[in-house]
């Protein structure tokens, strides 16, 4: 279903914006489901409309993940809260090596929110789900009074299935392993910030928001010697690698000059006094892999359009366990600490 020129079918057209009753579990709620969510997400599981959705038995371990999305603004260059909500949870599942299958979607919408904006968000979710090959099978809508909430918050939870034998996780990094990043960093966070701060550059900074599960499938086809996968969202590459170093009790040493950063992202970071290594990504992954498999995995990532700029950026060491250190551009070494709080609030 294409919502680009979406006009509200009867009887939603009586409501150009969300009213409290759309979250009431009555007729208006049912109409929202029937005329907006069902046509967009249409699949046989969702159509049953029970209190919970029933899916066939899955062979293999289950992966389960959830994220709430409160990004501000709701629409930004390269995406909106809708595709973010789908891709975020798909990526969390993929980072455990799981094949994402089913998503839930919980909306908390503010009274007065334009129906056409909700329709756009829902359409973007549907497109993102289709691209990622997942089904949105269950959902819920609550409405809060005007002035509470910020238009629309979305929670997604996701179920994936995990092949036997895979043991990918934040405690699996080993000294000697190689650290790969799948492309330029900081795009998502700076896309959001440049809209918020009204920054203008020659090139618009676009979010990298994308589902990475197909890339992970390809990587696993190439080699199962993948120890850790992580999508560096909030807190960026710095926080992700710090967490992994802590949980795996290893040191990680990266070469900052190897990390791809787009010129416009670098400019925006400089202007706002930020370090791209702490800035969120929504379509990039970090892979920590066995050294013998690194080149093959890197090549396979680069063959995927989402990974064209992938690079090897560092190694795992037995030295300085729990710490992330970086070789800087001027030949020195610095410790990259985990950020304390939030550098960029509300970026996802």
């Amino acid at each position: 279903m294409n919502f680009e020129n979406w006009t509200c079918p009867l009887p939603l057209q009586d409501y150009p914006s969300i009213v409290i009753g759309h979250g009431g579990g009555g007729k208006l709620s049912a109409e929202l489901v029937e005329h907006l969510f069902l046509p967009a997400f249409r699949n046989s599981v969702l159509e049953n409309l029970g209190d919970s959705s029933v899916m066939p038995a899955l062979a293999g371990r289950l992966a389960f993940s959830t994220d709430s999305f409160v990004v501000k603004p709701l629409f930004f260059p390269g995406g909106c809260i809708g595709d973010l909500a789908v891709n975020g949870t798909v990526n969390d599942l993929a980072m455990s090596g799981a094949r994402p299958l089913y998503l839930s979607a919980g909306f908390i919408v503010e009274e007065g929110f334009p129906m056409s904006s909700l329709a756009q968000i829902v359409q973007r979710m549907a497109v993102a789900a289709e691209k990622a090959g997942v089904q949105i099978v269950t959902g819920d809508t609550k409405v809060v009074e005007r002035g509470h909430g910020d238009g629309c918050y979305i929670n997604t939870a996701g179920i994936g299935v995990l092949a036997d034998g895979l043991r990918i996780g934040p405690r699996q990094a080993q000294p000697g392993d190689v650290v790969i990043v799948s492309g330029s960093i900081g795009d998502h966070g700076m896309a959001i910030m440049s809209v918020r701060e009204g920054l203008e550059f020659e090139t618009t900074i676009e979010s990298d928001c994308a589902a990475l599960n197909h890339m992970v499938d390809e990587m696993l086809e190439t080699s199962t010697d993948i120890h850790v996968l992580r999508d560096p969202t909030r807190g960026g590459v710095a926080s992700s690698l710090n967490e992994i170093a802590g949980q795996s009790k290893v040191g990680i040493a990266i070469d900052e000059t190897k990390i791809p950063v787009k010129p416009e992202v670098a400019s925006a970071c400089e202007l706002l006094g930020m370090d791209p290594i702490y800035v969120a990504n929504e379509g990039k992954l970090l892979a920590i892999v066995a050294p013998h498999a690194a080149e093959a995995i890197l090549a396979r990532i680069q063959a995927n359009p989402l990974g064209a700029n992938a690079r090897i950026i560092g190694t795992v060491t037995a030295n300085h366990p729990g710490m992330l250190v970086a070789k800087t551009g001027i030949g020195g070494t610095r410790v990259i600490a985990m950020q304390i709080g939030e550098q960029l609030p509300r970026i996802c």
Copy 2:
């Protein structure tokens, strides 16, 4: 873990209330997980702290459900948003006949929200999860600025497993079936409303908030001739039975005089001009069962403390498909329509 006399362990005590950084994915987020969520929800899956949680393979079909909770006030007689968030999703799963196993928990917390209140909510979730026999295995916290959100919103999603052969669902009601309600109706909605409106009665109205999955297990032990199960939350018994009548393409006839309503709930409803049949419940179920099994199932429900006041309240008919009609106290018959919007906003 008992949070009744909870004092914040280091280093959370430096933050008597939530700051933006607690949602930032950095050190403060990690501390919240480590010092608040993990001790409360402790289980082996959650402790892995990966992007997604990995659980063993499940034998049987999966049930999957989600709900967001925006109840106002957050604490009310008989419960709080925490146990509501657990029981709500547990019940949605149980209403498909599934055995609930795993929950996710997504928090959207407002900056400035007292850490002790969050701890209380989390503790109530832990207690509710233990009672229901489910594990909270994955979660997420986002923080929104002061003035956005209302203290705390919670989304839960849940996974259950469904025994072979069960076909319980809103389309399965058949003419001749018997309608059972598991106890007095309207308690939850009126507990919330009486706090909000400052109503005082001789007896405090308490929410019936409870997990019904064990009751459903017992019912299924007694008979599998259960066609529909539904927890009449938003929109109450009226909306639930209307939906079932519509989806099963049958009529439903109930005897209003048979429906248990507590005197204090009846008084509050009268005072506020509400009909208890439209008021939300959070610890009651409607069961539509084959006539030959009705008495045995009723007896089994009544043997459970949560179902002591269960009653047979009506039958399914081939007449007036899609409609719910009620025999009234004065011998007449009235059509009970689905409510249009929301009679009681923000009750879950």
